[in-house]
Each structure stands twice: as structure tokens, then as C-alpha cells.
Amino acid sequence: MRSPRLFSLLLLAVLLCLPFGVAQEPRKRNPFVQPPFGRRPAEKKAEPAAEAKDFANKPTAEQVRFFEAKIRPVLVEQCYKCHATDSEKIRANLTLDTRQGIRSGGDTGPTIVPGHPQKSLLIDVMTTKESERMMPPKQRLSDEVIADFKKWVEMGAPDPRDGVARVVVKNDIDIEKGKQFWSFQHPSKTKITISDAKGKSEVDRILADARVAKGLTTVAPADPVALIRRLYVDLIGLPATAEQVEAFVRNPTPEAYANVVDELLASPHFGERWGRHWLDVARYAESTGKAVNFNYPHAWRYRDYVIAAYNADKPFDLFVKEQLAGDLLTAKDDRDREENIVATGFLAIGSKNINERNRLQFELDLVDEQIDVFSQAFLGITAACARCHDHKFDPIPTKDYYALAGIFRSTETCYGTIRAVQGQHPSPLMTLPDSGIEDGLKPLSKSEVERLEKQLADLRQELRDLQRKSIQDSFLSVNGVRLRIQTATIEGRLSQYEKDGTPKRLAMGTRERFRTFNSPVYGRGEPDKPGEVVSRGFLQVMTDRQPTIRRGSGRMELANWVASPDNPLTARVYVNRMWLHLFGRGLVNTPDNFGTTGSAPSSQMLLDHLALRFMNDGWSTKKLIKELVSTEAYQLATTYEPKNFERDPENSLLWRMTPERLDAEVIRDALLAVAGNLNRSPAKGSPVHANGEGYAIPRGRPALFGGPPPEDTHRSVYLPIVRDNVPESLTLFDAADPNLIVGNRVNTTVPAQALFLMNNPFVIKQSDLVASKLITNFGSDSQRIREAYRMVYGRNPTNAEVETSEAFVAKYSARHTRRETWTAFAQALFGSAEFLMRN
């Protein structure tokens, strides 16, 4: 609907159809697609003259008899279920119950060419050997029936049936109508009315009004212990120590609270916690995933970039621009330039079907993945749905999809990987300036380089010998495959270093292609069905003006468009994400989908207020978080209250704080922290980096890849994230699956988690470390119990708890050593709700 003329025509058409009413609504429809027209007399006028003449040829009586005896019963029996005016759901927009319908055809063109059975689609689908095209779909018609149909078409397809086909309108999406949807409208200050209430924040006042309307009352504020523990977990993802809790409990004033907030926001651990939230959305991983899984040895740089961005409170609009077009931004210095390049890793770290044989298919899939992540992460829109057809629910025509695709297809994505058995699409990587950022990769010594080169030369020689003997064996024999894998692996390792053994400074990212071009629309998304070429551009429903892309891919223009205060979605989607991580549920409960199939905001006013405020505050994440954790709503207790629960079980209006199990990373980090075993410094690089290019999941011989890594006690955000092989300690507790864009993790409680907490050596080891401290540092059982509570829960035990604990210790130690007893005791505390839950 790019041309205004076309649009006005369509509008006219809408008006025309109004008086005639609307035919039965199909079950599920895109609200932005024009409803089907009723049967209207005007329809005949629209018929081309030739068709009209055909219609005038009245069939002879004999022809009618043939039709009635041989053709119509078959059509009724076999076809009408899906292809008749009154079908519940008309398939392929094709109706066969009128003469007009059968002649004009559906999505795939005219059904019959009178007189030419060979050219008639109807005969073709009846006789085809491809079962996916065959009609009727389940059972081939008998040869006899097919012969009748051929004969009938040969006769000129005489058809006595009157009536006008239900004209099935093509999915012409009405963009202007689409713009009326709430999320495509700009948040507006004038629509926000905040009642007066002294001393309350604006957020609280909006919530209070909304609660009144629903008859909800808030529960009491959280007690200081719960509150301060909540704050530590939420802001830095580490448990508060007993001393930290006590310091606040002694003086639980708003000022003291604000001081703790500031302190935590300034902690380097803040970025590790909140960066991880963004990595969920950015489907961060260090391998291609999919059928054959190859390493991304340089992905970790993007991880570190994100963590640093959160620690530096990088304005979100800049954060967006860097991730979409950092390579095109002007840099102050090398460090800045490095950051900008690494940021574009966002577009490169997606999963890839590296074993795809068709190059174009691979490219289109790669671009599709980019459109998917960019549109959901920043805009909360599932634009990738429009790859094969107009979006079924949102006002996004396929053309818009390919307008975006043109931008990404004019961009070169640099992700690495090697050519190897099943590795078909290696790409270059981005070379970084030397900015002094450490990457943890040690230079190879001269002898190491020589050893590897020698090994490589030997392998190549062996392979050549094998090839000379038998080309076939070199590809197919176990030995041949082994040689190829080993060769590729060493090549992959060496590709990380300069000739002298210095590690190369490489990154994943994007850059402009030499030539830019506009993409055709691919019919049903299939590479062999290119259609009309569309100019690069943005989603029409979210913009009044298409960009003028003068040179380059248009990525810079795209980034500016996304990161603009005029974009109705970017700020809303982001503040909703931040809200969700603090309150357990988004104001829009589908954080990656603000379209019509997403859920409506529980309070649009609140969402818009926050979005406007956020942009006004210079897109500052830390300011936003501070505002949110300072609200009364955030500081409520988790108390269950039946009346409120009945009215608002999801707690969408925050009548209390929702209790939840801790995130996977927090559980693991807290175990390590309590045991005094957490390495609090950031990891340098990643084990995947050290492994180099090659297969992420070993094929054939494990020995090639070394065993599992030694115990890694860094914070969980630094653990290697290999697709389909994420550490168990994370996946079991619902860490984000990096194959998906995860705005909102699920929060399950399953026996596999219990088994982990009961039996996993990692958990037992941390419990053992706690036991060792208790035994060494404290003399009596009651002291040890007290200390264990302080270490694990950050508080002293009650008298009753001391009693229960003493009883357990007495019972258990009757048959176990002291060390075993205290390990079992500590493990029980770790496995308990108080440790695992955030209250």
C-alpha cells in the first residue's frame, strides 16, 4: 500500500462493501485485513470481457448431463469441504462451487484452461506424483474419474452453475487501520492523568488508582530483612551477607535504602546481572547450534560489551544504535571503535544452519534470524512472521519484511566458523584495533606454533596420500573423516593466531557489503520463487515517512529509526522489560510481542508514563531502575491475601510483591558465594575462545577436544554458552534457551531440579566448603547452626529453628562423621525454599 492512490481505492472498496454487510467471519483473522466482500452485484462488472463472453456460452443439454453425472458429484464429494463458498475455511482462496470460482481460480492461478487439460491446474493436481501437491489430498482419484475430468476440460469445461463466487480478497493489509492499534500510537503525555497524593511516587499513584478500580488493597510493606535481600538479588544477583542485612536493619530509613540502591547500581556486579537479562533477549550463545554445531570463539566479546554497557549506564538509544550499526558510527578512539564493532555481534551470534547446501537459502535464513531478533528485541513485534505471507495478525505485509531484508542482505555478517565436514559457510571475522582490552588468550610459544604446524602438515600429507589411493576413501572412510576433522580443528585453532603466535584480535559483527541491493519478495519464503523487488525500508505501520537511503545498506537509518523518540515501541518495550525483571511480570505480559496477539498492558498509562520519563531521562537504565525500586509497590511484602488473590491472581496491579524462585544464575552464584568459593572477578575470554574454531560438540573422537573444563567458579554469566549444550546447572533452572529470544523466562519447579540439589557433586562440594568453615571456626553445635543460618539466609535462626536443627544434627551425627553431618546440614539449607526463593 505504498501508493496513496491504491490506498484510496481500497478505502473506496471498503466503503462500497459496507452496505452489503460482511459475510461470515472466518474463525481467526488479521484485524487489519479487509473483510471479505459480500456477494455484490457489482462484481460482474469487474469481470474481464473475455470471461464474460465465456460465461455467455451456454452449455448444451448433453454437456450439462455429463457435468451433472460425472463432474459435479465428484466436486461436491471431494472438493467442497475446503473449496466452496460456504466452506468453514476456504483453502488457497479457491472456490469450486461456481463456474466463476472454478475458472478464476485461487492463490495459485486459474484452475482450468478450457480445452486444455494439460495446461489445467485442476488436472495437474489430480494426477501429480508429488503427494504434497496432490488433490484431493488424502486419496488419489480413480483413473476413471480423472479421465472424466480431462474429457470435461477438453469439452471446454461446460458449466451450468450460476452464482457468483465468494470473492476471496487477497490479504491486503490496511496500514492506516493498523496504526490505530494502541502500541503503534505514540505514547502521549496528555492521556496521562495522575492523581495527587502527597509523598507517593507517580508510579504508585497510577497503580493506586488502578487498584481502586479493581477493589484491590495492598498488603503491608516487606520487613527490612526481606527487602534488602530482594534488592541485592535483583540489582546485582548476589545474596546480601548477614552483615549487609544487619547494617540496613539497624537503620531502615528511606535514605539508607537509597544509599544501598546507589551502591548496588555502582557495583560492577550490576552489569553482570542486568547484562544477562539483555543476553536472554539477544539469544546470546557461543556456537551456531542447529543440526551441526560450530563454535563462535569470539562471541564472548559481545557478552562483555553488554555487561560493560550496563555498568556504564550506556543510554539505551545509543545501545540500540551500536548493536545495529556500530560499525557505521564515528568513533572517538580505538577503544570506542572496538566497542562499536563488537556491539554489532548482536546481529551475528544467532543460530545458523551451517550445513545448509543452498547458498541463497542460507543467506535468507540468516537474514530472517536477524529480522526476527531485531524486531522482537527492540520493537516487540514478530516481523519474521511476514517472511512467507502477510502477517496473519499484525499489519505487516510481506513487502515490509523484504524491505527490511534488503537492508540486512546489503550487510555482510561476519561470524567465523571453518570449512569442514558439514561446515559449508565459513565467513570472515572483524579485525579489532588494539585497544588494550584483555582477552585471556595466551600467545602461542614458537615451539607450540611449530608443533601445530607440523601436525597440520602431517595430517594434510596423510590426507593427500589417502586421496591419491582413493578419493572415495578420503571422503567416506572413517580414517578420511577423522583426518578431515582433525585438519579442520587444527586449522581452526591456528586461525586464532598470527604467524608469530600472538592471538589475533577478532570479533563477530557486521559491515557493509560492497554492493547494496533491494530484495525481491520470495513467494512463500522459498528461494526459487523470487517476485517483485521492494525498496529497502522500515515497517510502514510504525512510520509515516520511509527513509531515504542514499548510500549503504540502510542499517544506520534503521538504527536511528528504532532508537528514535518518535518510534512508538522502542522505549515502551524496553521499560516493560526492566519492569518485568523487578516485579516478576511485565505491564505487558508478552514482553517480546506488543502486537495484536500479545497481551494488552495492565496499565497503559503507567507504561506510557515510564516510557516518556525514560526518554526524558536520557534513556538511562539506572535512573529507571532506581525509580522503580524506590516505589512503594516494589517494597511490598509477598504476603498472600485471598481476597486480592481472587481478583488479581497474577498480581498485575502489584497488590503485593510476587514471590518467585531465583534465576538459575543467581542460585549457582549464591551457592558459590556462600561457600566462599566465588571468583568475583570477570572471566577473561571464554573456554570456547580457547577451543578455537571448530565443532562445538565433539564428533567422533572426544580426545581431540580435551575433557570437560576444570571447575569454573566465575559468575554464571561467564560460563560458556554452547547452543544445545548449556551447563546443566543453568538449564535445569530455566535459564534462557539461546535458540530462542527470551524476554520472560519460565519459572518451573520440576523433580530434575530437586535431583540436582540433592545429588549433584557441585552442590555437595559447596555444602562441604560451608561445613568445613563451620567446623574450623566455631566450637559448639549451636554456634555452628547460628552461623550456618547467617551464611545461607543472612539472618539468625529463631529458637524453634535452633531446636529443629539441633535435633537433626544429633540424629544424623549418630551414624556420620562431623564433616558429613555439617555438609548434610548445609545442603539442606541450600535446598530449602528460603534460599531458593526471592521474597
Binding site: T639, I697, D724, P727, A828
Partner: protein
Amino acid sequence: MFDRRQMLQTTGSGFGFLAFSALAHQAAAREAANPLAPKPPHFPAKAKRVIFLCMEGGPSHVDMFDHKPKLSSDDGKSYAGARGRVFGGKLLGSPWTFKKHGKSGIPMSELFPELARHADDLTMLNACYTDIPNHPQAFLQMHCGLFQFPRPSLGSWILYGLGTSNENLPGFVTISPPNNNGGPANYGSNFLPAIYQGTKIGGGGFGAYGGGGSGSVSNIKNPRQSTRDQRQQLDFMQELNKNSLQQTGHNPAVEGLIESYELAFRMQAELPKALDVSGETRKTLELYGIGSGGAAAGGRFGNAGGGPGGRRGGPDTFGRQCLMARRLIESGVRFVEVTRGGWDQHRNLKDDLAGNCESIDKPIAGLLADLKQRGLLKDTLVIWGGEFGRTPYAQGTDGRDHNSKGYTMWMAGGGTKAGFVHGKTDDYGHEAVEGKVHVHDWHATVLHLLGLDHEKLTYRHAGRDFRLTDVKGNVVKEIVA
């Protein structure tokens, strides 16, 4: 069946919290919402559970089940249909002779002397086809319907659709799945809730950063505590949890946690029991071919097909796995998959294929006989097949290439026709020509046999309803008894 009363009895006197009247109705409500609780199918159906014998690598149908006399008579002739690969291309008649078996006269090659006795129990799908003649894609597609996008696997969909009848065991178990060709995605739940994912037993346990890997079920056994010790510890822990619950009031997360510990505790006892075949009679063990070699090659849980060593392992390993499968479904597990790799005979066809078949022939025949004698075959769907078949033309002189255009899978029991052949490939067994069954059709049919309508078994994700069969799939009604 999981039963509240039983559970309270078995969980010990120190653990009566569920009896608290204040909690009783909430617990009941929770049970109603238990995602694993058995659910009625969409329509009545015979099959209640599935054993999928997954042959990773692409078994050569023209040497096993799809008899092609013309291929033998044209042996050595060049073949126009051979393309894509550089090597060979001459037609290769099967080195094995075929005979018709049973009343149904289903042809099978001499590679399956034992299975042949069960010809009248089988429904052959001789015209299967898939999209891509490449292991990773085809293997993923066989499990998840698509390979382009990550999707939940067949077993997860079935568990989601029907729930499971023994809560002390996982509802979907996969024995010795491969690490590559999509790895865990082949038994992953993807966007379905995590509870529906497959529980891996043994298999290519080596993953650089994966957990478990010890050749058994992850974390199923405590490395140091006895059951009694652990019960004591657990009682203490549950007391702590009970205190938390009393403080916050109704809290599904804590209640769920309490229950998950009890389930896990029972699972620790039940799962190894279900997998332990040592209590089976000698007769049963012999029936499955257990004890007749091969144990050393793969180990008890080992992936027999993982490497060259496993190829001629004899029937012991696979026999044990089949017996475990029977024990699992007998205990109420909904979907059990057993993977046997090593069917990728680009070369060494004569030796390797014979070895492979020997290692599965007796176990499968034993499984069918055993299921039958226990009255389980009528409502257990047994499926055999791999991600594609092999070409009628040779690679070199003693090998065959991947063939996605036509191959054989078969089913037995669970409401399928007994002694029935559906579909046909061309004269050489290269391309399916009649009664074609695409992977989507196969999925639709499996679901249908379980009483699930593949168009109705949907899950809402990212704003739309997803299905195992995407937008495709036709039930092969012809094979339904």
C-alpha cells in the same frame, strides 16, 4: 498410578504436611493443574504408548525390507537417477536374498531371520520420504518436524498431549541418543514447558560443558549418602520448607518445591529399578538376545552405534535397551525412544549392515514377542525407522549413499494393521511412487494412532499456535486397523 493416599503413606510419618486441612484443597487444585497428569485423547484410540526404535544413519531399505528384483537383475548397470555425488553410480543389487514371510507374505531379506517370524505383526511403510538427504537436517526433521527452526520433539508433543500415568518416572525417556545431528534438540521440549522434555539415559554422554555424562540419568544417585541418610536429610529440609510456607501463606512455588523433592526422591528409587534388567528371567534375557555378545562394545547404556567398535557388537546392548524400553512402558512411561546408530553404510555395506542387523534382529523380535505375551502389543505402538534410506546405486562397490526420496519405516501394534504393506517405491527402490508418506504424514499418523488430532494438538507460542506438523501432514488412514 500416582495416588495421593499412597504418596502420604510412602513418604513417611515425618512428612504429613499435605494432610493439613488448610492445604488440602489447594493441593487438589494443583494436582488438577499438574502438567503431567494423564489427559484424555481427542478421540478414542488403541495406542496408549510408544516405543520408537530409532535407527540413526539411514538404514538401507533395499537390503532389508523393500525387495527389488529388478535391482538385482540390473546390478552393475549405470543409472541415470544417480546424481549429486561423484562416486559410483552403478546400480547395486542387494547382496542378500529376500523371502516372503508369514501369511501376509511380507518380504524381508535374510538379514532378519528372527524378525521375519513377526512379519504378520508389522505394517510396512514402504514409501516414506523426507526433504533433505543429509543426516543432521533429516534426523532433526524426523524428531521435530522441521529442521529450519528449533521445535519440540515428537515425544514431547505426545507427553504434552496425553500426560503420563506414572509420576514417579519421567514421561518421555530416550535411551542412548546421539550428541550430534541436532543432539539434545531431538528430545528437547523447546517452547513447550520443560517438564515435557525427554530424559536421557546413557548415550553419547560426552559434552564439553554438558552435565551428567556419566552414562546414566543425570543426578539420579547421591554419590555418598544412603537412601536412609537422604530421607533423614530430606525430612529436615521439608520441615524448613514447611516453616517458610507457614510464614508466607499459600504459595504454589513453595508447595511445588516440597512436592518436587518427594517426587525426585521416589524417582531415584523407581527409575533405576525400571532400568534394571537383572531381575528378569533367563528366558526373557535370552528372548532379547541378552548375554550373546556385544556387552563389552557398548557397555550397559552405551551408544552401540557411536563408533566403529559398536557396529558389530552383537545383540546384547540393543537387547538390554529394548528390554529397558519394555520395562519403562510397563511402568507407565508414555514415550520411550531407543537409538541405535551406525547405519551410514557409504562403504562396507556387506559387513557392517549384516553386523548391524544381527545386533537388532533378535532384540526386536524378542521385544515384539514379549509385548505380545504380556498383552501390551495391542496398545503399544512400536515404530522402527531412520532419518532416510539408501540409494539403489552404489558408492564405490560396497556402499550406498543417502536417499531421502524413498525408504521404509515400519510399525507394529497400537492399532495398526497387522501384516500390511502400504506404499511402493519405483522398480529400484529409489523414489516413493505410491502411498507416499512424508515425515509430516508419519507424525500425523503416529499422533492419530494415539488418539490425537495433529491439527488440534497445538501450543501457543510467540503469538501463534504451533503444531508438530506445521501446516502439513495427512494421516495415513490405510494402515489404521
